[in-house]
């Protein structure tokens, strides 16, 4: 029997391969009720494949996966009845209006017509599309379409919502509105499972994160823990000419706790960035530009893999 208080999602040695390509390479994780759980990683890290397996849209290659304590292989319909899915690319019904999209989607869940009507009105208000209820979907902006897709995912009052890159490609205003709505859902007790390659999104929304790279989990924890564990409090970014970098590589490496060489800049990890900058000035090295900032998840990822999240 699926227990009420157990994890909503449980994965053990979960793998997904497409021919000879391994998209997900034996990962373990649990998603607990009420939390906002995120997969952070660059394109191709295996985030979407993992989400698709949870959504019963992609068969598990090997390993164990349980959603609501059930097996996606044999109980897909029962799982899907309790899930809300917001895919990476909007797949709204372009031949229907905004409101009809919600009503029709409710019918696929076998929700009675009257209940569906009431819920559609509530959801249109929730995602601020009430005024556009009779518009054709094509006339909506990208942010509106994404909000409608989120409303559609809520039509069956899901216990768990899967969001695959919920704000990719949206302008900052549209992103903030979506974050705010998702934050509200979280406060109402809905469990969120999202993928992102934006560290700010992960920091804003996620209680707990898995950092993924090439199908594997490279780190796990809350955004704060990850930053504390893998990077320093501050980061100093310095631009200097290639010649200066090459000639002083040895001396520069002794500064701060760690130095990362990027094509266009040097990143010094240090608890006091200003102090490192002062040391560079003392060496008499010509600095083109320097910036001290707080460390982010982007730095965690860079530290773990030597690459940036958005390539």
């Amino acid at each position: 029997m699926p227990s009420a208080s157990g994890p909503l999602v449980l994965a053990r040695a979960l793998r997904k391969t497409f021919g000879s390509f391994t998209a997900v390479d034996g990962i373990d994780f649990e998603v607990r009720p009420g939390e906002a759980f995120g997969f952070l990683g660059p394109n191709g890290a295996g985030k979407t494949s993992t989400m698709r397996m949870i959504a019963c849209a992609s068969p598990v290659t090997s390993g164990e996966l349980r959603v609501f304590g059930r097996d996606p292989r044999t109980e897909a319909s029962a799982i899907k009845a309790r899930l809300g899915v917001v895919p990476q690319a909007d797949n709204l019904d372009a031949e229907l209006t905004v409101r009809e999209n919600l009503l029709m989607y409710a019918r696929y869940f076998d929700i009675p017509q009257q209940v569906a009507r009431d819920r559609a009105e509530e959801l249109l208000a929730f995602v601020q599309l009430a005024e556009r209820r009779d518009s054709q979907v094509e006339t909506l902006s990208g942010g509106m379409k994404r909000r409608l897709t989120i409303a559609r995912a809520l039509v069956n009052e899901p216990e768990l919502i899967l969001l695959d890159e919920p704000t990719t490609g949206l302008d900052p205003q549209a992103r903030h509105l979506i974050w705010e709505r998702l934050y509200r859902l979280k406060r109402q007790g809905t469990t969120l499972l999202l993928t992102t390659h934006y560290m700010d999104e992960a920091e804003q929304l996620c209680d707990r994160l898995l950092v993924m790279d090439k199908g594997r989990i490279v780190a796990a924890g809350s955004p704060r823990e990850l930053i504390a564990r893998y990077v320093t409090r501050e980061v100093l970014e310095v631009r200097m000419s290639d010649e200066v970098r090459a000639a002083n590589a040895g001396r520069l490496a002794t500064l701060g706790t760690h130095l990362e060489h990027l094509p266009e800049r040097l990143q010094f990890y240090a608890d006091d960035g200003e102090q490192v900058l002062a040391q560079i000035h003392q060496m008499g090295l010509p600095v083109e530009r320097a910036l001290v900032r707080r460390a982010t998840l982007e730095d965690v990822f860079l530290r773990l893999t030597g690459r940036t999240l958005i390539d």
Binding site: A57, S58, S77, L83, V85, N91, A94, M104, Y108, D110
Partner: protein, 256 residues
Amino acid sequence: MPNALRIVQRNALVYRRTWRGNVLMTVVQPVLVLSAMGLGVGALVDRGGAALPGNVPYLVFLAPGLLAATCMQTASFESSFPISGKMTWQKNYHAIAGTPMRIVDIVAGELAWVALRLLAVAVAFTAALFAFGAARTPLVLAAVPAAILTGLAFSAPIMAFAATLKNGGNFNALFRFIITPLFLFSGVYFPVTRLPEWLQRAAPWTPLYHGVELTRGLVLHTLTWPSVAVHLAYLLVMCGIGTVAAVWTFSGKLRA
């Protein structure tokens, strides 16, 4: 089955907005062809003393065959671009597959919708026959299910094909090299016995031939039971294999 009806409901919702243009194409056009060919050409044929099966006037000969062929055409169209659109271009089916709807529900629903469209076409067509005075017995009504089955036999495999396409280009080949030749050489406008020997031999292997023979035979009462069984079996097997193939190609796209 109730789940499949959701797809019918969805298509009906869309159809509410587009039916005017559609009715014009599916109903008015066959009626025009029927008048031109049946009455115009028919007058010449009948005067020439052609020997048609059952010794009926040309209009009476033409009508059931044209009905079967029209159903083939409507079903083929409805199963091509709209299906590819929902699978590849708009990805509606991906959204539906995220709900408790199963892939068999989606395929069954689309076939049920096509059947409903064919029913409308067949009923309108039969009404026209009564109006023209070409329907002399209630047997004409037997043409309706026969023509719908003919359409579905095309619908299912074309849906299976449509789900695999990345663009609409291949449909042009389908219509140009398969649907149109079948329309012309399956005994719709003239008995296949007028074809060259080798085409006559090829005809029983092609699907529309069976649809036309069955529909016309039921109306004109010129069929033996064994041949009814053969025509029915051909169309039912084609429909069945096509449905299995469609579930397979839909699954390939929706569950990878």
